[in-house]
């Protein structure tokens, strides 16, 4: 590559990176500012006086359990919302991955009617915006008396993540040569042993990629949480933090500290799993 081409390329990439990263940097900066500095004009890019008050209030400012009833500040619910988000994200991911993995395996290994159509129908379903599903699903949850429960959110997230996870795992399993399974069967392994000891380790990058996708979708969702949940103690984090905005006043420090804390689990997960994620999506892309 010629030097001037590389220079332009790096300049463009740098600009894009800045645009993408700026909101996060701004959130971190704001979360560390004292209240008077947040509204100062001109704004300071980096806080002059760093304070962890917002984090302290969110993490150690008391809990709903210690001060129940009316008048509880929204920040007291933060850890509860955090826990809710963890439960629904992990719950929906475990269900999505289990169903997607088993379904994708059967779709690539057994012959039955409709075998070829299922992955395509699934991916078509994923292409429909989830806002179209949310109200019919809400009505279903009402009739099942599941509204305002974490389980309703888990089911909702499974519905939106399963099709893509199924597609991804299907593409992955199609790339796993059937001979290694046949070799294991000749070696004396049962179908279950073959799946557990041979297929799953090979499919691990795909499982990790699909898991991260599912975790991110359910962790970041706002729509389902907004529609399905109404009591403060059952909200997921994304919906809960909106309570730092009460119509007349926005607690920007708490809002930004929440955003930073909310980003952390996914950022850490992404950092550790990045290698597998690339391998997983790569395999799906090439062989799917």
């Amino acid at each position: 590559m010629k030097p001037w081409v590389a220079a332009i390329l790096y300049a463009v990439l740098g600009a894009i990176t800045f645009v993408v990263c700026f909101p996060l940097l701004w959130a971190i900066s704001t979360s560390l500012k004292p209240k008077d500095e947040i509204f100062r004009w001109p704004p300071t890019i980096w806080p002059e006086n760093i304070t962890f008050d917002a984090y302290r209030e969110l993490l150690f400012g008391g809990s709903v359990a210690s001060a129940p009833g009316a008048g509880v500040p929204p920040s007291a619910y933060f850890l509860t919302w955090f826990g809710n988000s963890i439960i629904v994200s992990i719950g929906s991911t475990v269900i999505s991955i289990t169903v997607a993995t088993l379904a994708a395996y059967s779709l690539t290994r057994f012959r039955f009617w409709g075998q070829r159509a299922v992955p395509y129908i699934a991916i078509l379903g994923y292409m429909v915006p989830s806002v179209i599903f949310v109200f019919p699903m809400f009505l279903t949850m009402v009739s099942l008396e599941l509204t305002d429960t974490l389980f309703s959110l888990i089911l909702g997230y499974v519905c939106i993540t399963l099709p893509f996870c199924l597609w991804l795992m299907w593409a992955f399993f199609r790339g796993v040569p059937i001979e290694i399974e046949e070799a294991a069967m000749v070696d004396g392994a049962t179908r279950l042993q073959v799946f557990r000891q041979i297929v799953l380790p090979v499919a691990l990058p795909g499982i990790i990629a699909a898991s991260i996708f599912s975790l991110i979708v359910s962790w970041n969702d706002y729509l389902f949480g907004r529609v399905f949940m109404n009591s403060m103690e059952n909200l997921p984090l994304t919906v809960g933090v909106m309570h730092f905005f009460d119509g007349t006043h926005v607690d920007w420090a708490l809002m930004m500290a929440s955003s930073v804390l909310m980003t952390l689990p996914m950022a850490i997960l992404f950092g550790f799993m990045q290698r597998h994620l690339v391998a997983g999506f790569g395999a799906g892309a090439v062989k799917g």
């Binding site: 046949e182 070799a183 000749v186 004396g188």
Partner: protein, 354 residues
Amino acid sequence: MTDLIVQGLSKSFGSNQVLKALDLTVPSRQFVTLLGPSGCGKTTLLRMIAGLEKATAGEIRFGDRRVDMLPPGERNIAMVFQSYALYPTMDVARNIGYGLEVRGTPKPERTEKIGAVAKVLEIAHLLLRKPKQLSGGQRQRVALGRAMARRPDIFLMDEPLSNLDAKLRATMRGELRRFHLDLGTTTVYVTHDQLEAMTMSDLVVVMNEGVVQQIGTPEEVYGKPANLFVAGFIGTPPMNLIPAQISNGMLAVAGTPIPVPLPPRAPPDVVLGVRPQDVAMAAPGDAGAIPGKVWMVELIGSERLIEVEIAPKIRVTAEVRASHRASIDDAVAVRPDPAHIHLFDPATGQALTG
């Protein structure tokens, strides 16, 4: 030591019948090659012996044990796949020992067997590597090691050398044969490469379109082909198959009488088969030589192939010493060696024997 007996074995995929009531007996300790062109059913037969495909009809026995209803793991066979099919997430040692592991062999015994097999195959230094860190030849050895570790009743090999380069293939041919002689395990080997079949086998089973065409030693299938398919399939360059006529007890090709003893009840029109090595070049007008014109000359190392057109669209190839010179369109003649002439019935394709 186990005989392999296949009786009336048929296999259909939908309306496509891949194997047609096939019978085959492989005596204990023999190295048998299933040889045939792509799609002839040889791999399907091997997979049915392994239990990876279910038979539509017929039965398979290992000695007096009927196995066609058993899953692959209960047949006590070992199989080497064309792609080697090593377990990519396991190291070489675990690949070799996996069959022992799932059968509950205690770890010390397993380690000992893995070590012994690795030593024989000269891969002891690779035991901790993953398959992707191995060369093609090393993977081949690991696949063999996995098959050998369990001491199976029957070895099944599905074109195991086809992914190797020509030089390594030649080396491995010899090694495979050597291992078979040392272990003495009944072996069924699938290939479309007749050189492998001829050099390695005790018995060759030539197959075409799901039917066994001939079973015999390499010498038999080469020297006494049972039908036109075997005659044309075995041998490089292939056998010349020339239309010939019998009248007044004399065989004639393109009007030239060929002095060969004729089988009784031979039809008036036959196909004469003669290998290029058994065709000599002669001068036009020589007795017993079929006149023609040189159509193509090819040098193949120490030999030269001379293709002679003896009648429109009918050509005979002679394999002669490279020092024999010929030019295209030269007027020459070819003389088939009467001692090595085969006659076939064009209607049935079967060899006519005396």
